[in-house]
Symmetry: none
Subunit: 374 residues, 2 copies
């Protein structure tokens, strides 16, 4: 799979990672457990120290996070598709409405927001993601989310009737039906996007914040909505989005004295892997390596370099391969490994462990934990 | 942190550990989980194969163990401080009674034992630890331990009134109040130690013994009360305390044929670390190395060298760093590592794992475990 038998991390020239590695400890981390390829949410929750098998975040919540929507505890969220319905028979012709362009989708979304009125003045939010995808949020009262998907995942049949398992979910279904009936009218004259399918109903039940859990004031430097949303999910402060690496550095430096923990997200190590572009991924890793060198100026107590999962360009996708990870601090015991990358990190002192432990290890190295037991 | 970038174990010359290592397997063990610094109790429970997150032993029990007191199931235990009370206002002036010397404390303890009488002839034990510290044990009936600390942890206020959460604890509180009222009278004329504060109420609920759990007759060779108490807690036979390394060898040799498992405790690897004395800790490790060489004469089935936690002299305290560990037996598969110490053990066959698994691994190597499942 790897070029010259090396992964992108092994192939990249990373003198700064290597120097941190030689002064620190390293290992290979499994985001969920060996063999499991994590999605973005479990991958990040594990990095933030939350067991990703305990804190399961629904697909609907993912959609809302993905558009940078500020969810409130108790919100019921679903993922929506615009679709094409046969007006005569009511059956689904195209589950993705011919993949309408995002601009059209936004216009239709505005129309829906303007015209739909729910009983009891129940609040809802309709948030376009891209193309045919959107997020739906119901807010207020005690709404349940134990509701089946209306999307049957096949064509030639009508959308399914939504049903609520318990009373709270039946209340949500009442509003959902009002919503779907009005949307059907509003979209009646559209050729492609003339109806909507919903799935992945989930109630937003946020995990305890990092401040509550660890006593950490946390700050997130991330450009893309999903990662900003994830940071917000665990209570991080999320400033305006940085456009360049220089912006990221400025945000870090400016806020350095006011926070205890910084999550700094680089997207392109992942996206170049998904594009299957080995050479670009190597280059991106080398750019991050250069950026990270500057962190020495700030003299952090602990520095961690890791990822929420592997994305080998050979697979063009997230993968289960454990993530090479380095931890650098004054209180670690250097393990003699001096090169960053999978096969070297496998020799390190951290060994192979679950990503969820990384936060505790970091807090320990920052001397922020008390002794357990007498 | 380490001198010459080496830990004490890495720095020490340990030809005997090294020889066992080259014939055995090694790894790095986390007593609780990565990043967590364990206290003495969870550290040892893990070594004895008990999950330290499942078997949580209260502070009061620790006190009783620490004075080598033989607890009985159902005993309610608390940690006591002699303190100084302002006789006029009833407020605490000194939570530690001016750190009265242990001899005074013992005399006052004797006075309390002689004079206090509880209703229903309820049995109690008052055991001096050292200086101002003591342990209190109530025995008999169905006593509860869900009782608040009377120690407010600050001065200038009176001791807190004890209250029981449930009926069984309220019964204990009845006896506790009788005890405290009588103690107040008994100590009335003392200038410093004129009252007592209690905290860490706990009911003694011992884990299953090693004999029950593993079918092992276990024997403990340990000089200090805490470790003797911990050994007794899991059902080990604890002989009179050995004073010297030679005594320890004699106890082992004499009892070798009558037991299946020996816990041999060396204290000074820990205490020299707590003193921050790198050189002394190195020397102590070298002494233990010499002592351990003699074990070959006994031809054990399995030999394990490990610790309940790290105590780096650089931190002068227990730490979270995983513990270098070697396991030697006829049935292990030597892993090619031939030097004991953190960075070498990190390369071993045991890898990095939780300490609680070590007992099973030892039993397996002694061929004492049956197959799991059909």
């Amino acid at each position: 799979m790897p070029v010259n038998d090396k992964t992108e991390s092994e192939f990249a020239k990373t003198p700064n990672f290597d120097r941190y590695t030689s002064e620190g400890i390293c290992g290979l981390l499994d985001s969920v457990s060996p063999g499991i390829t994590p999605g973005t949410i479990p991958g990040h929750l594990a990095l933030f120290g939350y067991d990703p098998m305990e804190y399961v975040i629904g697909r609907g919540v993912l959609s809302a996070l993905g558009v940078d929507f500020k969810l409130t505890e108790g919100d019921v969220v679903a993922q929506l598709n615009f679709c094409t319905i046969d007006q005569e028979f009511g059956t689904i012709v195209d589950r993705r409405a011919g993949r309408i362009p995002t601009e059209i989708s936004r216009l239709l979304g505005q129309k829906i927001r303007d015209k739909v009125k729910l009983s009891n003045d129940t609040e809802f939010f309709f948030e376009t993601e891209s193309e045919y995808r959107a997020a739906l949020i119901f807010r207020g009262g005690s709404l349940g989310a134990k509701i089946n998907d209306t999307d049957p995942l096949i064509t030639g049949v009508p959308p399914r009737e939504p049903q609520g398992v318990d009373e709270a979910s039946q209340l949500t279904v009442k509003y959902l039906k009002e919503f779907l009936n009005q949307v059907r009218e509003i979209l009646r004259d559209e050729l492609k996007a003339n109806m909507i399918l919903a799935r992945g109903f989930a109630k937003f039940d946020p995990p305890p914040t990092m401040e509550k859990r660890y006593g950490l004031k946390a700050f997130a430097i991330a450009k893309y909505p999903m990662y900003r949303g994830l940071a917000r999910l665990v209570g991080m402060t999320v400033p305006e989005k940085p456009e360049t690496h220089e912006d990221m550095w400025e945000q870090l430096k400016t806020n350095y004295e006011n926070y205890d923990f910084f999550f700094i997200h680089f997207k392109k190590t992942d996206s170049s892997g998904e594009d299957g572009d080995f050479t670009k991924k190597v280059k991106v890793i080398e750019e991050v390596d250069t950026w990270v060198a500057r962190l020495r100026e700030l003299n952090p107590a602990v520095l961690v370099v890791t990822g929420d999962h592997s994305t080998p360009s050979a697979l063009k996708n997230h993968s289960w391969h454990p993530v090479p990870t380095l931890l650098w601090s004054q209180n670690c015991r250097p393990d003699g490994v001096s090169v960053f990358g999978e096969r070297h990190c496998a020799q390190g002192y951290i060994g192979r462990m679950a990503t969820k432990h990384l936060m505790m290890l970091s807090l320990a190295n920052a001397l922020r934990l008390k002794k357990f037991g007498a």
